[in-house]
Amino acid sequence: MKGLLIKDLRLMKVQKNFFIIFIVIAVGMAAFSYDISFMLGFLSFVLSLFTLSTISYDEFDNGNAFLFTLPISRTSYTAEKYCLALLLGGGSCIFASILAVIFGIFNKTADFSEIAMTALAILPVLIVIQSVMIPFQLKFGGEKGRIALIGVLGLLFVVGIAFVKIAEMLGIDIIKVIENLPTVSMGVMAAIIFFAVVIILFISVKISISIMKGKEF
């Protein structure tokens, strides 16, 4: 696992210019915008996407064939990609929060609780996005993966619209239903989100492992 992480970090070094550009953009956002949530989300999301690019690098030039002759298993390879995504996502979220605090102090707009709340809200979203994207990238590779992902998002959109339309036809007002849901406390909500994210992550890892086990190189 450690060897694979080192490999990916060394591969990401190739893209260090992009890293620097994104960080500069984030610093600009933090310096000139009062809305830190966008900067936090932007940096965490964009940097964690580098995980997907390491998968493309592995596949490039039939590299996977040699990679899987090294003392690694298909399971550990998959697990490493998730670890990398979490490290990059979590790391960049912390980094972005520090940026927000520093510039908040400078601009005298620092609201630590808001920064902390935003960072904590971004993390589950980040994990869910990666949980969807990593299996697609592993299954279809870089180019096809993006097309397949757009296809699935489009399909989800169509299903959503169809769901709303059907509800309308049946005379159900979805907004009212949502409004009438029993209100839960912040803590319970956080717990629900936490467990939902863990379950999504678990299912995603399982799917990715089975994708990798079925691959031939």
Partner: protein, 283 residues
């Protein structure tokens, strides 16, 4: 060390059914034309593809149950794959150090210096010879018991090929137990290196012989029509119609030299033996 029994793999227009064995302390060669099944066999041994039947055992363990730890005892060179071209030798060292518990840093770095491979240059910018040397150095850097080498000398000039073969000989001399399975389409490489040779054609092993026996006992008899008619064919393996008459492959060269002094006898080489095995008719 490595045993393959009726390994089967089916593709749309190709079927592999291969059995072979690499014994401890031996260098075994696998030779065949392009598309004959060499790479498929190698991929199956390494667990890179699923198999449709048969078994592959390495160090007495089925390849299906091979763990990451077991893989530390393998050194692998694949002709069409390697570490990402975007990495440098400097990048690879910590990766190998963390993947292989027996990674020999001093040996690796000394060999890198010996072959003048640059530490900071991206592998994709290496010459073909440099890439091949690096692949081989990686394979022998962690005290592997078995090397699986698929076309390691492909695309190299004579000098670079000799250096690579020398590297393998040194590797074998260090420990008696080590073994190598190597494929090549350059038969002279295998003739000087291998203890025994398997020939594969159209997914099937068509011949297995000790290299010494192949080179000393095999021969090509060149006969005209008349000589062919009178020829004792009990030790003839293959015959082939030629413009001058027939060429016949035998594994009893001495017998025919003694009994047919007028027949032209050409010494057996891997090239002419495999050509006859593929294109010749069984007697």
């Amino acid at each position: 060390m490595l045993k393959i029994e009726h390994l089967k793999k089916h593709y749309n227009n190709f079927s592999l059914d291969c059995s072979l064995e690499v014994k401890s302390g031996c260098i075994t060669g696998l030779i065949g034309q392009n598309g004959s099944g060499k790479s498929t066999t190698f991929k199956a041994i390494l667990g890179l593809i699923s198999i449709d039947g048969g078994s592959v055992t390495v160090f007495g363990k089925d390849i299906q149950s091979f763990t990451a730890k077991d893989k530390e005892n393998l050194g692998v060179v694949l002709s069409d794959s390697g570490f990402s071209g975007y990495l440098t030798v400097k990048d690879i060292i910590p990766i190998l150090k963390n993947l292989y518990r027996n990674f020999n840093y001093m040996l690796f770095i000394n060999q890198i210096r010996r072959f003048q491979l640059p530490l900071d240059k991206k592998i994709k910018d290496f010459s073909t010879g440099m890439k091949a040397k690096l692949k081989m150095l990686i394979a022998i850097s962690h005290n592997a018991k078995l090397l699986i080498l698929d076309e390691p000398t492909s695309g190299l000039d004579v000098i670079a090929r000799d250096e690579l073969l020398e590297m393998l000989r040194e590797f074998m001399e260090e420990e008696e137990e080590r073994s190598i399975l190597i494929s090549s389409h350059i038969s002279s490489d295998l003739e000087t290196l291998c203890d025994d040779i398997y020939m594969i054609n159209d997914g099937k092993i068509i011949m297995h012989e000790d290299t010494d026996v192949l080179l000393s006992n095999y021969a090509l008899l060149k006969t005209d029509q008349e000589q062919f008619k009178k020829l004792d064919k009990q030790f003839i393996i293959r015959t082939k119609k030629e413009s001058y008459g027939y060429s016949c492959l035998t594994n009893q060269k001495q017998y025919y030299i003694e009994n047919n002094p007028k027949i032209a006898v050409e010494k057996g080489t891997i090239d002419n033996v495999i050509a006859m095995m593929i294109k010749g008719e069984p007697k």
